[in-house]
Amino acid sequence: MTAQISDSLEKNEELLKGIFSSCYDIVFRRIHGQMNILLVYLDGLADAKPLDDLLVRTFVPAHEAGEQCDKGYMLEQQLASIAKTTTAQKMDDIVSGVLSAQVVVLADGLNHAVIADLKGFEQRAIEEPSNEVTIRGPREGFTESINVNTSMVRRKIQSSKLKMESMTVGSLSKTTVVIAYLEGIVKESVVEEVRKRVSQIQIDTVLGGNFIEEFIEDHPFTLFPQVQNTERPDIVASYLAERKVAVFVDGSPFALIVPCTLWSAFQSADDYYERFIYATLIRWLRMILIVGSLFLPSIYVAITTFHPQLLPANFLLSITSAREGVPFPAVIEAFLMEFLFEGLREAGIRMPRPTGSAISIVGALVIGQAAVEAGIVSAPMVIVVSITGIASLITPRYSMGIAFRMLRFPMLLFSGMFGLYGITMATLFLQIHLTNLESFGVPYLSPISPMSKSELKDVLIRAPRWSMHTLPLSGSKRHQLRIPRGQKPGDQGDET
């Protein structure tokens, strides 16, 4: 299909109609006027309205203008006034132009086509991101359109250093993938690695960010995501400034960010929009609860069935009286309840909106109250599972939370078999696993392990803005100052 475009409009039309046979959404419009013109575009994807106006104004009236000599040049010039135009000589350029929502203009006696970029399909307006909510942060989230997404980031970083490289992935979907980074700040090797991994992907369709993520991540079999995703342009901008690379995928309202470390599971956008003391305390709360969600059911099972000596006497009295008459061993009970909680959570996401109240009533009443009253499940277990449920959903990075939620179950198995000893062993395995992980050359636990003191300002605490002088991500010999020293309020002028 590398056929050249011929001079004859009829021939071209015939050829194109052959290619686009049984494609009802392709529009062929022939216009007879001063020039015979054929317009080819996708119905609903290209906005032909400005083109129509232009045509009515210039071509259709029988002009007596003398410069008939260069129709093609004139056509292009006129079209350039309403859209970005390119010319194409080959038939498959035309085809891909049509499929990517452009308008192809063919004229009689012209051996090339003019392609006008008149994309005009319906798209979602910019809305508040629903998965990453902030109290004080900006309220805009990515949409499905890649141009809108990149422009939102560009608006936050108005620097020529922000580079956005475009690639096409997917033999059928021809999805645009944009790799964004800040030149001179990012580690060049990471960009090179991302470029390499993305360009090596061979796939038919790319329908979301995860299609790319699963190809470019380092360890496919771990539970922990090594690529972070976000639907907030401000998060992308802040990570770009922190030497990371963002990957946009057309059609997905999520940008991928690499490299990614475990600690991002504890960082929320609001940490940076609130004052630092509060942000640090909330970060600690989050860490305690996330770790709690991993261990709480297991510790409960281990202590009640293996080490009741660890409970204070009065606490033990309450627990034994509540557990009296419960038919299942604690570990089975815990599995059952955790399983049901996960079921409730999943149903909460998948259910059609109008059925929501039914699920919450049934969930609260049947699982919570009735099961306890019937003596099938003990009340302390319901409390433990509820706390765990709340804690497991507190992480600001949903995909990170999934890892901790899944790990709860093997942890429970270990504690049910070996008690606290089992929990200790499972934790050791987990730590060994985590230290082995890497994301694009960056250790998953950095900067805690390997330890890098200057980067700790945004891990366990959120240091004040004016003290975050250096850029994160280990491996940089030249520590660029992102925020010059001596800006602590009250300190100005003291520094020399």
């Binding site: 009640t304 069935t305 293996f306 009741p308 000596q309 409970l311 006497a313 033990l316 009295l317 309450s318 627990i319 034994t320 009286s321 509540a322 557990r323 009296e324 008459g325 419960v326 061993p329 604690a330 570990v331 049910g416 078999m417 008690g419």
Partner: protein
């Protein structure tokens, strides 16, 4: 390779779960929690053990009026045999992790408790923070039977009383073992007795301290105040009420002491004559003043303070003399003092400590500093004219 190893690993773990059945997990509903126990000496020389087990299903109900515990007993030539007899009556495994109280009848205490202690120290389920009590003038099982109205499980009461009156709890088992195994010092145990309460029922009372000799035989008791003085010397006290008469002012002054210090200086002469100078310090506030003194005046306060210190010194000395002459067992930590302050001499005389101890020359100086008089000043019941400025 890696995947294979992982598969084998998971397979092995599954084998452990499925085939061996060796989960040493015991559900709470398969355990009988023993919160207190007792041992008594029977007339035929065998042991009677009793234990107070909680009944979990009755704890939350509460209002039903039934006791949330029951007592199960067993007898045997040895402690283990007696416990085994108890187990024959129990559907659940005895768990002693929460047993904080162990009561010993007076008869057994006098007979000697050496045989009990070995069993205690060998049982890994035994709690090390255990309080062993001597039941003065009664059987250990009587203490278990007392229904104490404030606590759901009555055996919790004796620990709580002990703590509330300012003693150090949960260390008596450990202290007993340490004192028993160290050269010179003699072990002690806290004492409860069973008295008639306000209601028709009997109640448990913290009595004081039981003194044992080196053969783990009970030799005598210190009452509550004497026991407190001893604790003061050992720096194990947190609260003490003192009330002394002030003859010059014709009334009593009551003081609550809540900050304590103790210092012992020892000296040894050529002829192994040991001298102990005990200095007890404390700070307290005036809780009661039935004299006609205005304690806001420094002169009056000095008077009260001096009198108080003098009287208390005499009481403490009387207690020490009682221990020295009547019991002849060192329960005051004097051996430790000697060991620390005169290690060389101690090594020479420690073999004869039992004969040296009763003849130690002790001087006591109590120095309570009355820090807070309050703003009341003179007692309100006196008229202005009767108050001594």
């Amino acid at each position: 390779m890696m995947k294979q190893r992982l598969g084998v690993f998971i397979g092995l773990i599954l084998c452990i779960i499925i085939t061996t059945g060796c989960w040493d997990r015991v559900e709470l509903s398969d355990r009988a929690f023993d919160l207190a126990a007792s041992t008594d000496l029977m007339e035929d020389g065998s042991y009677l053990t009793a234990a107070q087990f909680i009944i979990p299903s009755r704890i939350s109900a509460g209002a039903s009026g039934e006791q949330p515990y029951f007592i199960e007993t067993g007898t045997g030539k040895t402690l283990l045999e007696a416990i085994q007899k108890t187990r024959q009556k129990l559907s659940r495994i005895i768990t002693r992790g929460h047993r904080r109280n162990y009561y010993i009848g007076e008869d057994l205490a006098k007979h000697g408790i050496g045989e009990l202690l070995d069993g205690f120290s060998r049982d890994p389920g035994n709690r090390i923070r255990l309080d062993i009590w001597v039941v003065k003038g009664g059987k250990g099982m009587d203490a278990l039977k007392v229904h104490y109205p404030l606590e759901k499980i009555p055996s919790i009461a004796s620990v709580k009383i002990h703590r509330a009156v300012g003693g150090t709890t949960a260390t008596s088992y450990l202290d007993f073992m340490m004192a028993a195994s160290s050269e010179g010092s003699s072990p002690t145990l806290p004492v409860v007795d069973i008295v008639q309460g306000a209601a028709p029922q009997e109640t448990i009372r913290f009595y004081g301290r039981a003194i044992f000799n080196h053969d783990y035989k009970l030799v005598g008791y210190l009452n509550f105040v004497e026991g407190a003085y001893r604790q003061w010397i050992l720096k194990r006290i947190s609260y003490l009420d003192l009330a002394e008469e002030i003859p010059e002012a014709g009334g009593n002054v009551g003081v609550i002491v809540n900050s304590f210090g103790s210092k012992i200086r020892s000296s040894v002469s050529e002829k192994n004559k040991v001298k102990m100078e005990i200095e007890l310090t404390g700070a307290g506030h005036v809780a009661e003043n039935n004299t006609n003194l205005n304690l806001n005046k420094g002169k009056n306060l000095k008077l009260v303070q001096n009198e108080l210190n003098k009287k208390t010194s005499e009481h403490v000395l009387a207690m020490i003399t009682k221990v020295q002459k009547q019991f002849g067992t060192d329960v005051l930590g004097f051996d430790q003092v000697m060991n620390r302050q005169h290690p060389a001499q101690w090594n020479k005389i420690k073999g004869q400590w039992n004969t040296i101890f009763p003849n130690i020359e002790v001087s006591v100086r109590v120095n309570i500093n009355l820090k807070y008089m309050g703003l009341v000043g003179p007692p309100l019941q006196y008229k202005e004219s009767e108050i001594k400025k």
